[in-house]
Subunit: 155 residues, 2 copies
């Protein structure tokens, strides 16, 4: 279903929560409470986000988590990648090599392009966007026509 994992979902929610008050540090417990999720799970998520460099942490009393960068410099793809690893629709769209069906497949290259388009899209959505409580506007149709998926035989 192409879904994000639940943890990624949590991550987004938690990040948004932090983004709404970027000045003060947020303790894991506080966030868990705010978001109504089990503390250990939130904690785990936060750690992953720190590892990915999206959050900074401060230990000790009065410690907590803060955004490592302004919300508008953190993108959806950053968050997804932090939790799930590289975004790629197929095995072969992330790196080369692994797929031994490349010959018979005949589709790999095109999937990679689609993958890229998805990544680009995801990269254009920032945490600042996501954190807006008021729904963002997103006109239903992308001007996809501009994607030259058209039958261009040659290069």
């Amino acid at each position: 279903m192409m879904k994000l994992s639940r943890l990624t979902d949590y991550a987004a929610v938690v990040m948004a929560q932090i983004a709404r008050q970027p000045q003060q540090p947020h303790a894991a417990a506080e966030l868990a409470e705010a978001v109504k999720l089990p503390h250990p799970t939130v904690s785990k998520t936060l750690k992953m986000l720190v590892k990915a460099g999206l959050l900074e942490s401060q230990r000790g009393a009065q410690g907590g988590y803060r955004l490592a960068r302004p919300a508008h410099e953190i993108t959806a793809i950053d968050i997804i990648t932090a939790i799930e690893g590289p975004v790629a629709m197929t095995e072969c769209s992330q790196s080369d090599g692994d797929c031994d069906l490349l010959d018979t497949c005949g589709v790999a290259d095109n999937w990679q392009r689609v993958s890229l388009a998805v990544r680009t899209l995801l990269d254009s959505v920032t945490l600042a966007h996501l954190a807006q409580t008021a729904p963002i506007k997103l006109p239903v149709r992308l001007p996809i026509q501009s994607i030259d998926l058209g039958a261009t035989a040659d290069t």
Copy 2:
């Protein structure tokens, strides 16, 4: 990783294979051979594609599978949906109801829009595109600016 499941991958490859010779029926065994995948697995995939209405099947001798519609009328999303069910990035982006965190979440609506954008993108890629052995061209950047994800809040 937002990956497609392996079966979906197979489905795409097999569909492409059929699309390249749309006139004749293709037996599961033949396709499995062509694509170098185990017969039962390919068979299973094909059945799913038939159920989804993307392929038509003919039983008996000289039978096999054929596209139910011209390749350019079958989209990536059709194939993905056939195997994995509805494409949605989060639980709540597919239907309403299931998520009991909607209040605290504050991100749901925005994810849904992103989801929609991804779906639209995927909908613009047809089987005809995928089936081209020559790689399709896809200029790296989508004109994402036109997506009014623009900030309504601060900044």
